[in-house]
Symmetry: C2
Subunit: 319 residues, 2 copies
């Protein structure tokens, strides 16, 4: 199979016949942005063995690649639109691999209402490397940034934290428990693009917690120029996480710094919290108020019974 | 040096302080498209040892990565705007490498009037892999596509063909001649974005010749649904290429199929050829009319004294 057959058979269907992709026949796509709107653009690169398990199944590579990137679009309060994808294959992919990979992408495209507008593929004896640039549409000047949190704002987490870390440990056989939900949290995270419009309506600032809750709260705090307090007692964990905590198979530190979760942290004025929580109902989220922004120099403080505690690790980078 | 220092010191300056990049502080950039315009988007992935020499100097990796991608924007008749870049480093880059790489990018940014709007970096023991997604701005419905060539249109090449292939062979020590111009054609190709507006005004179709002149003419022909004749006698080569042809150190086939050149092929109505050539004057190009589109099934025919000849190879793919 040559490059043209590969594109024809597996990648062209990802365009969903959208005019913008020009049938992958040109060297570029042509995207339109409605009047009064802006294009939100985010890029991620994923390398086998670093961002997904080296022997991961193609469908889960696809899910992670696309969904983690869409999470950034959600954090900006933008509606997903399209994506460009480049793939450097480490070896000639077989048809079964390609079929599973692109089928998973199409399923996600349908779920999140996006299409592939273009990209590039090559083969080089390195590691399978996937780079995705996702596009979202936001109303002009309404994209939600990290920098808008104000002292007094509530800190809201859209779901559970720590489950992806548990899922990864199960897959790595470092944890011998059963939890399909935790495995899904790692392998098939749900980007919160379904509530982008609600985030755009209420959030002063937002970020996903892919590098760990504490590290990401710190990012919000730095960008906004104020401190943020996280109340440990306020955080509800999933049943799986609770069980691990009770049996000492996991620590709170691990859960809050583990990363790979794609829930969002939002800064919302206290007055708007009830309306936000009401609007989020019916969206299959478990939002929780876990802290508040306060006057003071940028710092993410973890409080236990009102007293600051120190965690061993604040987050991680892939560098 | 951690990831944040890397971004702060080397990548943030690439944003040129543009508001769209949000100071690389967010997970996304926010791009604006002027009313009545569209965003032209093109992606390329380059892997060490495949798309550039494994031991290539950082400045030339930067030049090739950005310029080859900008060439696609030029072929669409769009004005360059911004780019996203992801880099998977194969090893921790040293500061000298980073400085040379980003300095070369900034020089090109200045030359081609673009800025870096965002991206992602990671480190994984594979091969240095750079993926760039470039944005251009075109007037609505005026982006130039491959599919617009009409029978009767002249086929115009914006410069010389084959020089990049010669440059690569010199660098690989397969050719023992001196030609800084040929080496530059490979290492530091000039994307024709400086004449994008002229291309948008006159060209029915356009493509760059990165995969070889014959293969790309074939692409134009396929997309436009008509044949194209290339008159061998009409093609002027550079002095270096002519010398190699005369001394039998290169063949016409090699020059026409070698690839890595970033001149453009344009389809322009015969009536507009004089005006196009006049407008291109003063832009440091050497445009030449090398053939014409004709009625008939899609095919790129090479004619010598009016008779069709067969080349051994039509182009190459990286797959």
């Amino acid at each position: 199979m040559d490059e043209f057959t590969l594109i024809e058979k597996y990648f062209r269907p990802l365009t969903e016949g959208r005019a913008e992709a020009l049938n992958l026949q040109d060297d570029a796509a042509v995207l339109g942005v409605p009047p009064g709107h802006e294009l939100v653009v985010s890029s991620d690169v994923l390398v086998a063995g670093t961002h997904f398990l080296a022997d991961e199944k193609p469908e889960f590579i696809a899910h992670r690649a696309l969904r983690t990137n869409l999470s950034d679009i959600a954090a900006m309060g933008a509606d997903p639109y399209a994506y460009q994808m480049t793939i450097a294959f480490d070896k000639k992919p077989n048809e079964a691999w390609l079929k599973a990979f692109t089928s998973a992408l199409r399923a996600d495209q349908k779920e999140f209402k996006i299409f592939c507008s273009g990209g590039d593929t090559t083969m080089a004896k390195g590691k399978l490397t996937i780079s995705i640039t996702t596009f979202g549409i936001a109303r002009r000047d309404k994209a939600v940034k990290r920098s808008g949190a104000k002292p007094g704002d509530a800190l809201i987490l859209t779901g559970f934290v720590g489950d992806a870390m548990i899922g990864l440990k199960i897959l790595q056989k470092k944890l011998k428990i059963k939890s399909p939900a935790a495995i899904d949290a790692y392998r098939k995270p749900v980007p919160r693009v379904g509530v982008s419009h609600i985030i755009a309506r209420y959030a002063h600032a937002a970020i996903d917690i892919s590098d760990g809750l504490i590290a990401e709260a710190q990012h919000l705090s730095n960008a906004s120029g104020c401190a943020v307090d996280i109340n440990l007692e306020s955080i509800k964990f999933s049943k799986t996480a609770e069980t691990l905590l009770r049996s000492k198979k996991a620590t709170v530190e691990e859960l809050l710094t583990g990363g790979d979760d794609y829930e969002l942290l939002l800064a919302v004025s206290q007055a708007n919290v009830p309306a936000l929580l009401k609007d989020l109902k019916g969206h299959d989220l478990k939002p929780q108020v876990i802290g508040a922004f306060t006057e003071g120099k940028p710092e993410a403080r973890v409080l236990e019974k009102g007293r600051k505690i120190t965690l061993k690790k604040s987050g991680f980078t892939h560098f």
